[in-house]
Amino acid sequence: MADYALPDFTLLKTRAQKDLPLAPFHEWTFPDGEPWTRFYRTASGYLLRFPKLADFEIAGSDLAVHCHPAPETSADTCEHLYLNQVLLLVLSKRGKLVFHASAVEVAGVAIAFLGETGRGKSTLAASFATGGCRFLTDDGLVVEADGKGFAALPSHPSIRLWEDSQRALVASGAANAPSVQYTNKVRFLAGNGIAFCPQPRPLQRAYFLGEGRTNKIGFSRMPAAEAMMAWVGNSFLLDPKERALLASHFQQVAGLVNGVRCYWLDYPRRFEELPSVRQAIVEHLQEEGVAA
């Protein structure tokens, strides 16, 4: 796991999700409008509600996390929600830069892939991780300034894939992590042909993935302001209403945009194209002197 102190996490007994007296101050929804996460303020901190799955209380100066599973929610599901959502939000509250992004290591440097849900971030990372490179994260990228630039930190050594990506990319015999109740994605643990990079790597490039309505692989440089908006739009932020946190995040992301070159990347979404996409990315890095 990454080189930062994790908040205390305690799994409590199940409890029914009663209506809360306050309105949420923020909400994440699925593309169909269904709520995914509701953010509430409490006397001691925050409560994150994943409807019908679990409530997570975040409290105290150390932002300790207590999870109340809803009835019939498994411990594995709670742990997964913690690692993939709650932990990342808590880290954002601590001032870390955290993004919805996958990242892989190419020739000793990190490159990140960002984009809306379904654009193929995890699939592309898995393609690299099963094609001779190592992955740092399949989602939930933590980035830190390290004095020389920015480092991409490794996260949980697993990749979540839809069944079609799994069939195309993952050899039989790869180790599955326990399934979780809110997604049909299968989570594969690193090892058995899926290579993981457990050390931070200097982040050199970010590729924002297009819609895939194209017949060829194409790169185009993002204007800096557009890149800034895109990074912001892909950020984890526990409390986007907290001005001090928002101001700090703004300054950090601006520094990131000035230090890490960003491109739009689009390519046909066909699994047989993935080796060519990997090759094109490596050549793109080589042309710019990033990877030898």
Binding site: P223, A225, M228, M229, L246, A247, F250, Q251, A254, V257
Partner: protein
């Protein structure tokens, strides 16, 4: 908006140069805005506390365009900034010349 209007950047608006552009964050609304390189230069001059007239004159020195065109573009941008809450008039009255 007139070039004689006195304006300032509200304290809750943050701005950073990224590349040759500028991105602003209105902390009150949590809203982000971007300016191209010419807009970024105008913003920089406003950040230095220059009046719209001083900004117009500085831009006329720096850019090869007719002064009236520069003033028109400057006022159009200032109107947009004003409506987005990124700029505010100082006092309710403007100074006429």
């Amino acid at each position: 908006m007139k070039v004689s209007d006195r304006v300032r950047i509200p304290p809750e608006v943050l701005a950073r140069q990224v590349g040759e552009e500028t991105v602003m964050l209105d902390l009150a609304k949590g809203a982000y805005f971007g300016l191209d390189s010419v807009g970024a230069r105008i913003w920089q001059l406003l950040q230095e506390g220059k009046s719209l007239e001083e900004v117009r004159d500085a831009m006329a020195d720096e850019y090869d365009a007719p002064p009236e065109e520069i003033e028109r573009d400057l006022l159009a941008l200032a109107d947009n900034l004003l409506s987005d809450g990124l700029l505010e008039k100082i006092g309710s009255e403007s100074i006429s010349k």
